[in-house]
Amino acid sequence: MADEKNTGFGTRGLVRREPLLNERSIAGRHGYSLPPAFGDVAAAENSIPQQLRRQQPPALPELDEPTVVRHFTRLSTWNHGVDSGMYPLGSCTMKYNPRLNELMARLSGFTHLHPYAPESMSQGALELMWELEQALCEITGLKRFTLQPAAGAQGELCGMKMVRAYHTACGNPRQKVIIPDTAHGTNPASAHLAGYRVVEVKSGPAGYLQVEAIKPLLDEQVAAIMLTNPNTLGVFEREVGEIARLMHQAGALVYCDGANLNSLMGIARPGDMGVDVLQVNLHKTFSTPHGGGGPGSGPVGVSEKLVPFLPVPVVEKDASGRFFFDYRRPQSIGRMKAFYGNFAIMVRAYSYIRELGGEGLRRATELAVLNANYLRARLSKFLKPAVETPSLHEAVFSDEVFEGLGIATLDVAKRLLDYGFHPPTVYFPLVVHGALMIEPTETESKETLDEFISAMEKILDEARRQPDLLHGAPHHTHVGRLDEVAAAREPKLHW
């Protein structure tokens, strides 16, 4: 450890302390050039009633453009992105974000288009949305999609609201939604926001839901089951067909969280498994960048019986080939957000789908599953897989091997940072003790996977020989391990 400290890691080049913007501010500086006003500025200002007018200018920092550019460039170097290295965050599908798609999303015919511009002059955008919907329908086997939700969780809420609207139209909104214990936290939160009580069901010992566990929970108050397929253990829900049949028999619906669609493209379709509602995360499966936490896009697909409840508007095409927004949908749940959704993200996803085509999408899935299984096979030699059942696009391990050494999953994760890898998702799914959930995606090479495996192997060796090295990790990042407890105890949320 002493050796590492002296090598100068983390002290050279751009990796240095960068003050906050306000600490760099010097009165009288500015980084803008505005055109002159063509009206009378003083008169305009005086026309605002005194009591509504700003009494003093907001205390924003005063900076020149080079300082601002340097500030954010430096900050960027303290971030790990997919561009920096492998980012195997389970359930997040951190695949490469193709550069062409960034360029295409910046074409001014897309960016400068206002949502209230005449439809006749926005036909390219409408066509893109219509084609994207068609492609998503084909990939998932569902009847129609709304592209409106801004992210996966908003898609879930949108989907659950459609479930509720459907049941209400049938005469009883029902009260409960069944959710497996492996589900993402957004699932119960979304079901609750849609007015439902959550009933948790345990996934079986083999890591998938069993029909027998669901049967006793089924009654006329169950509105839907909300499952993820493959689930968060990466395991395919093989009984989904029978589960869907039972649900439908009871008048209930099947919601599928599409976060893990990257393992199914061209292989199997949720719509063919009896799924009625599915949200797709364009920022996962369809390569649009995560942006450090968004913007995402969470289109929702539905089976025939839920089509009337889609949010307004939907894109339609008339007999002459003209595209238009249809607002006349009396049974619609309404709107999830203003306008039509995160259009700039749709452009990137559409671009991705058109570049790969059907064969390419299938290949992406195959290689994603190959990579995950390769990692699983090699890591299983020294880590304990969460379940014996084969998995698809991700591999989940428990902390069994290192817990006894006094090493926590978090220590392993932080030490991975020192080896230049972003850690996997940790402590999720909740059903796995000290879980490490690894999703490499198809865009990682075998060499990178081998380096990751070797890093994990070295870390386990360190866990045995020098546990303090892990407890104190990371050592080579811009900051050391951060005190999250202190942050919550005395919140400092602005400068």
Binding site: P57, I345, G360, L370, A486
Partner: protein, 449 residues
């Protein structure tokens, strides 16, 4: 395929290490009756150059977004100029290809930038706490009403007062369905503002909140101090929705005029309209209500060596911890858009942001003057103060005039008959720093006023 690094030899090697004979075998847990068993019916893949041509063609079909088109459309999403440095910095791969900053030691760039975003937005809105962002202005307003319901536990009604953006109203309706909160709309009066008498008569001790838009959908300025007095008099919260963030350079911060929650659409500070998305939902409130707040928060802390750093904090409100009992289901937000707005505000700074606001207000007045000069058109709410957007009464053929203007390369605003039957002779016109005397003259000519 240029994204897939695998060679056939490597694939063979990997399959052999896994212990299976083929890639196909990796999918053996999917029952055969659920397999697709055919190729996806999608257009064949394209080379990078073919794809580029295809998307350029689609983009060119959007005549409304073409260079040379002159637009006065605002209505909740105003097109402001965004300096080149903003997008250049967004293209740093370390920013745009990162995920939510779950591992703070590898995400200090994103985290410090969000902390700076929260700080500057707190300054603009006057709020003690601003979160890391919501999806857009409309959904932020809806979440604010849900939050007001949690703060005022025994209250079960919210009032949407006056000229709130019709799509905000729709989003609030959708979000509040089955929430236990009833939503009631208070109409606007002949002056384009909230009907104060009606509002007062509907406010009672069951009212959790009133939602007010400032400037309102017609660009008019509501009397926030008076509205706060009315709401607080009945123990209700006042939620203020700002859809034109530039107005905050000239207008007092809403929280300083009594707003308990401020939501805003910040997309106009971050980039061009992008056909309506992504937006940026700004969300701020009082420190005393922070535990009822939706969304992520970044806080300052120290690392083990005492060095300053930033982390996600107060996460016990959120879905990944509290699941069904979370304050919201939001997870992914609009991080990169928040970063863009942060960079833009840093460039504008204290003087630039105010100058931008003043320029908008001045240009709007000068444009209105020009439009009214010949006496053929008149502002619909002439006595009411406005910021940079106004309603112009042009006549029964308002819609036709708008279409005709578009054919001459001028997008002259939004036809209000689309939302309010009684205003079908009116256009909603937004003027910004991007307009000058010549563009105002072109607008007047195109509308024949």
């Amino acid at each position: 395929m240029r994204y897939f690094p695998h060679t056939p030899d490597q694939i063979r090697q990997m399959l052999s290490d896994i212990g299976v004979a083929s890639v196909e075998q990796l999918f053996s847990t999917i029952p055969s009756e659920m397999r697709l068993g055919r190729s996806l019916k999608l257009p064949a893949g394209m080379s990078e150059s073919e794809l580029s041509r295809h998307l350029r063609q689609l983009s060119a079909k959007n005549q409304a977004g073409a260079d040379g088109m002159l637009s006065f459309i605002g209505a909740g999403l105003t097109h402001h100029f965004v300096p080149a440095a903003v997008d250049q910095l967004l293209l740093r791969g370390e920013f745009f290809t990162a995920y939510t900053p779950y591992q703070p030691e590898a995400s200090q760039g994103t985290l410090q930038a969000i902390f700076e975003y929260q700080s500057m937005m707190a300054e603009l809105t006057g709020c003690e706490v601003v979160n890391a962002s919501m999806y857009d202005g409309a959904s932020a307003a809806a979440e604010a009403l849900l939050m007001a319901g949690r703060v005022g536990k025994k209250r079960n009604r919210v009032l949407l007062a006056g000229a709130v953006h019709p799509e905000t109203v729709q989003v609030c309706r959708t979000y509040l369905t089955d929430s236990g909160l009833d939503l009631e709309e208070i109409p606007f009066g002949g002056d384009g503002l909230i009907d104060l008498g009606r509002l007062e008569s509907r406010l009672d001790d069951k009212t959790a909140a009133i939602l007010v838009q400032q400037p309102n959908f017609f660009g008019c300025l509501e009397n926030l101090p008076r509205l706060a007095e009315l709401a607080h008099g009945k123990g209700a919260l006042m939620v203020v929705s700002v859809l034109e963030p530039v107005s905050l350079g000239l207008m007092e911060a809403p929280a300083r005029l009594g707003a308990d929650i401020v939501t805003a659409e910040g997309g106009g500070l971050a980039g061009a309209p992008n056909f309506g998305g992504p937006g940026l939902g700004i969300f701020g409130c009082r420190a005393q209500h922070v535990w009822q707040m939706p969304g992520r928060l970044v806080g300052q802390t120290v690392d083990k060596n005492g060095q300053r750093g930033f982390v996600l904090t107060l996460a016990a409100r959120e879905q990944h911890i509290r699941r069904a009992r979370a304050t919201s289901n939001i997870c992914t937000n609009e991080g990169l858009v928040a970063l863009a707005a942060t960079i833009h505000l840093a460039l504008l700074g204290k003087t630039g942001f105010c100058e931008l606001a003043r320029t908008n207000a001045a240009n709007a007045r000068a444009t209105l003057e020009l439009l009214e000069k010949k006496g053929r058109a008149r502002r619909a709410f002439p006595q009411t103060a406005f910021f940079n957007e106004f309603v112009l009464r042009v006549g029964k053929d308002a819609k036709e005039r708008l279409e005709k203007a578009a054919s001459h390369g001028v997008l002259a605003g939004v036809w209000l008959g689309r939302f309010f039957e009684q205003l079908s002779d009116c256009l909603l016109i937004s003027v910004t720093e991007l307009h000058d005397r010549r563009s105002a003259e072109r607008l007047a000519e195109a509308l024949e006023v």
